[in-house]
């Protein structure tokens, strides 16, 4: 069995069992229970929620990320072991959504960690989530979901962006004017 066939096999199985760590920061978390439970039942695709990043393959970010939460997200993403994929859930992860001009909420999640699939909408319906899962499975089985490799390749760039915003997470009162300037 050649290398490529082997990797195809591996990718097939990976697609069949994707375990998910859902990082529920925003209002979008309310859409997950229907996805997990009897209405849409994501387990039939072998997708089950997991407790720790060590065990998970998918990192599902539901909604907006303030700078402090972003720090946690990056930490968690670093703790996941490859192969690992990120689903950005809802407009907030795409462009900040209704927090587009907030001084301490980031827009564009994929400036900081590589996002494989964005789920548009505020907020997306469970069907959308299921659809994204299926899309992700196809990508994985085709071997296209390579976000984690992009992250390792361009690590400096991601790191720079992260540090830039983390710099703003210092206590607000101390350097208020700088914060307002950057906003």
């Amino acid at each position: 069995m050649s290398q490529s066939q082997w990797s195809e096999l591996v990718n097939y199985f990976r697609g069949r069992s994707m375990w998910m760590l859902h990082y529920c920061t925003g209002c979008g978390a309310i859409e997950l229970p229907p996805v997990m439970t009897s209405r849409w039942d994501m387990e039939r695709f072998g997708i089950i929620p997991m407790a720790t990043p060590r065990q998970a393959d998918i990192l599902l970010i539901t909604g907006y990320l303030s700078i402090k939460t972003l720090k946690r997200v990056v930490y968690t993403y670093d703790q996941m072991s490859t192969p690992k994929w990120v689903l950005g859930f809802g407009s907030c992860t795409i462009n900040g959504g209704i927090y587009w001009d907030s001084y301490n909420v980031i827009d564009r999640l994929d400036k900081y960690i590589p996002v494989d699939i964005y789920i548009a909408g505020c907020m997306p319906r469970p069907e959308a989530i299921m659809d994204s899962f299926i899309k992700l499975r196809e990508m994985v089985q085709k071997g296209e979901a390579k976000g984690y490799e992009k992250y390792t390749k361009n690590y400096e760039w991601y790191k720079a962006n992260q540090d830039h915003v983390f710099g703003r997470s210092e206590p607000v009162l101390r350097k208020a004017e700088e914060v307002t300037k950057s906003a």
Partner: protein, 622 residues
């Protein structure tokens, strides 16, 4: 007349005299101790079963014959005790605790004498010698004041014990007119049918002593104190060897198969006196286990663990069936091996970390890997996990109990062994696993001598686990010498109980194969990378943000706290309180009596006159 026997006693005495002279220079002291132990072991090779030696002591008006006599039991005991002592003293060459070598040698002399003596004078002499030498050795642990109290407490218990034996010895002497142990036991077994209560009374005088020395249930209170606060290098000997003297004594008297003829049997054909004794053993086992689960001082924890193991032994030998005796002696040996090992590793750990509190240690396994693995093998044996030693004996004990149809005792013993697993893992985790504190960043592994000792002990535990036959054969001889039918045991470790058989090497092979498979599977599957202990899943939180360090955030030691209140009844058992109460009561009476001596001449004159008058009246009445 084999004069090599007397050397077994004389050599240690001479060595201890020499060591006492150079006691100021610790290393010299330890060296002489080790050499003496080794030489004694060497002399022991020339000793065979059936040899005897006796010399006269012009005393008590007649000439006492002090006789040494080598039976199967004694030579077994001699080998295991002296061999372990040699290993321990070899380790203690690099040890810095306040153990005094010459005292250990005194105990060795007493040890050999006790195991060989066939007359009660010598037995008592050696017993007392061992008693005071061990008490003085207990002095000078790390916490001086506590060890002082422990020594006092131990002293009182042991002295009371030996006085009760004193009484028994002379009562037998009055009855038989001889001090020879074998003759007296023969006498007892001859009259046990006629006066069972007499025999029970006399024998219980002895058994009190043995139970105190072995730390069996009502008299267990000194054990945790003496073990926890004795010098770290002495504790292994105290726990591994000295707790066996009591067992040896009981075995001496068991061949009466005492009550068997004298007393009606309780359940399962066990005479009710033995039955009570079985339950005493079971209570000891459970009590020791439960108390050990909640200790924080690791030496105390293992002291209670020794307690429970000796409970096993007593319960087994009290059955006085072939399986029971075999299992009991086998477990005594296993306990000597693994508990000695555990205490030696503790000695290593404590000498490096400087504390014996579980709450202050942790994560040392990367710093002291060899000690870690020795300890691992040790607790595996103590938990009775095949293929290490300690499994076979526990298994045999269950067989023996079940054969006598004592399910409830067996259930409790099983509970004790599960609990043993709990506290053993607690100690294991809190010392070696878990989060390493930065205080121990510069902790080093023990030096070469220690490494050698630990490797040897690991090997021994595995070897006797895989090949129990090498121990079970001599035990079979002992059982036969007690007039019972020994178990069919082959040297290759095919052990057969009454209920089922195990073939220990088979277990080891299957384990070997499966571990090979496990490693293969491990290495063919995807790669892993090593991360530091600080890199842990902490719910996305980086502890430093909260001013927390991993030592504080990832620190966990108080196991089993949730179930503590389940065991509240056990903590209310206050035997200790009873003894201390007696002591205080005596003190009160003493201070009251002291008031007689008012320090006033008239009063003394008055006493004298009153005494005189009383006598006169008495004379008048007579």
């Amino acid at each position: 007349m084999n004069s090599n026997l007397i050397w077994l006693v004389a050599l240690p005495l001479i060595g201890s005299a020499v060591a006492a002279i150079v006691v100021r220079y610790k290393f010299l002291d330890r060296l002489i101790t080790f050499l003496t132990f080794a030489t004694t072991l060497f002399v022991l090779f020339s000793v065979h079963v059936g040899q005897s030696y006796s010399w006269g002591l012009n005393f008590l008006g007649t000439t006492l014959n002090l006789t040494l006599n080598v039976s199967h039991l004694s030579i077994f005991m001699l080998y295991i005790s002296i061999a372990f002592g040699t290993v321990l003293t070899f380790y203690s060459l690099i040890d810095h605790s306040r153990m005094k070598g010459f005292l250990l040698l005194l105990i060795l002399a007493a040890n050999n004498w006790i195991f060989m003596s066939n007359d009660m004078v010598g037995f008592f002499f050696a017993w007392e010698l061992m008693g005071w030498a061990s008490v003085v050795s207990v002095l000078g642990g790390r916490e001086r004041e506590k060890s002082r109290h422990a020594a006092l407490y131990y002293m009182i218990m042991s002295v009371s014990g030996s006085y009760s034996m004193f009484f028994g010895i002379f009562t037998l002497w009055r009855l038989t007119g001889t001090f020879s142990i074998s003759a007296n036991i023969a006498y007892l077994s001859s009259i046990v049918g006629i006066h069972p209560w007499w025999v029970l009374g006399i024998v219980s005088l002895f058994f009190v002593t043995f139970m105190i020395k072995a730390g069996i249930f009502p008299f267990h209170t000194w054990v945790p104190l003496a073990y926890a606060y004795s010098p770290d290098a002495f504790t292994p000997f105290l726990s591994a060897v000295m707790s066996k003297y009591g067992i040896y004594g009981m075995l001496l008297f068991m061949p009466l198969s005492l009550m068997e003829r004298g007393f009606p049997s309780a359940f399962g054909g066990v005479p009710w006196t033995n039955y009570i004794f079985v339950w005493i053993g079971v209570i000891t086992a459970v009590l020791g286990t439960v108390l050990a689960i909640f200790q924080d001082d690791v030496k105390k924890l293992f002291a209670y663990s020794s307690l429970s193991n000796l409970g096993y032994v007593v319960a087994a030998i009290a059955l006085f069936t072939p399986v029971g005796i075999t299992a009991g002696i086998f477990h005594a040996f296993n306990h000597l091996l693994f508990k000695g090992t555990l205490f030696i590793t503790l000695l290593a750990v404590i000498s490096r970390s400087g504390t014996s509190k579980l709450s202050e240690m942790g994560g040392l396994w990367k710093k002291m890997p060899i000690t870690f693995f020795t300890f691992f093998v040790g607790i595996a044996s103590a938990a009775g996990i095949p293929p290490f030693n300690g499994f076979g004996s526990k298994w045999l004990i269950y067989q023996a109990m079940i054969k006598q149809h004592l399910p409830f005792a067996t259930i409790l013993l099983f509970l004790a062994s599960t609990g043993a697993f709990m506290y053993l893992f607690k100690a294991f985790h809190s010392i070696f696993l878990g989060q390493l504190s930065h205080d121990y960043d510069r902790v080093k592994e023990v030096s070469a001598v220690g490494k050698i000792t630990e490797f040897f002990l690991m090997f021994a535990m595995t070897f006797f686990g895989v090949q129990p036959g090498y121990i079970l054969k001599p035990i079979g001889a002992i059982v036969k010498s007690m007039g019972l039918k020994p178990l069919p045991v082959m040297a290759n470790g095919y052990v057969t109980g009454m209920f089922s058989n195990i073939y220990v090497p088979l277990i080891s092979w299957s384990l070997a194969v499966s571990f090979t498979l496990g490693f293969i599977l491990f290495f063919v599957s995807a790669k892993h990378k090593y991360v530091s202990q600080e890199n842990n899943y902490t719910a996305g939180q980086i502890p430093e943000d909260w001013g927390l360090t991993p030592e504080t955030y990832q620190f966990s030691w108080n196991f089993y706290q949730p179930v503590e209140k389940l065991f509240a009844p056990f903590f209310r058992i206050k035997i200790d309180g009873f003894f201390r109460g007696t002591g205080d009561w005596t003190k009160t009476i003493g201070s009251a009596i002291k008031e007689i001596f008012v320090g006033n001449a008239q009063m003394y004159a008055f006493f004298a006159i009153v005494g005189l008058i009383i006598f006169v009246i008495a004379g008048w009445m007579a």
